[in-house]
Symmetry: C2
Subunit: 149 residues, 2 copies
């Protein structure tokens, strides 16, 4: 039978028999993020649906790439940088991240942020800003103060 | 900005600017189901993530097809037929529906059931049982009593 029960283990969302993976990209670019792949090409799908859970005060890496993200917040509250904008996000909000658009998801200081992220199985590698581009982005009056780390 | 706020409108989950569609397949094979396409090829994805909401006492159509479903329950409680099994389902359970496997999702009598369903954009049309196959399935001691209508 194809049903995988969901549980909440010490505050974290978990699915039985779905391994909890570290988040990729180097520990200096994200904080407190786990990943669980719920569906992918292993099940015959051409896109993968991943669940990312961000600890209170944590954040995903600030990055961009050619492939798009389809994001649905599953739990909690936080903040999202998309392009040159910053917005509050909460459970069940939908976020579309277009190609080559800088983005980062951040949990509030007192709450987990859990989100589903849909990507095509065939996709390019994420890019992170180099020193010059980082300085320019950090100087942006809207998103600069929110970019982590 | 790509953020689409979520709201709860008279009990139903809704996303701003995402149209609420009727569920396909003829009104005699399902009951009280709406559909919202959250992501699809319009956003450059090769799979589509759809949100289906089933009213209390409602059900999706009993069907099978070559393409797989990746399902994640978003709200509520109900029951799921997959192949020759029946299981209780609740928020955040994950359900994998393999190729050519009969399936149906049903809401409890007193609660909405909302679920995400991931499918490849390129897929075959659903099949429903003909009269003889329906009679055989209805005679199954496990799933027979639960098949709707």
């Amino acid at each position: 039978m194809g049903i995988t029960s969901h549980s909440s283990d010490e505050g974290a969302y978990r699915w039985e028999s779905i391994p909890v993976e570290g988040y990729s990209g180097g520990t200096d670019v994200f904080k407190g993020v786990t990943k669980q792949v719920l569906f992918s090409d292993e099940q015959g799908l051409s896109s993968a649906l991943r669940y990312f859970e961000v600890e209170p005060g944590g954040y995903s890496s600030f990055e961009r790439h050619e492939h798009v993200h389809g994001v649905l917040i599953l739990r909690g509250r936080g903040r999202c940088i998309v392009g040159r904008e910053v917005r509050r996000i909460r459970a069940h909000d939908r976020i579309y991240i277009p190609p080559m658009t800088w983005h980062q998801l951040q949990a509030d200081e007192d709450e987990y942020l859990g989100f589903l992220c849909l990507v095509n199985v065939e996709r390019d590698r994420p890019q992170r800003p180099g020193p010059e581009e980082r300085a320019e982005l950090k100087a942006d009056p809207v998103i600069g103060p929110y970019i982590r780390p």
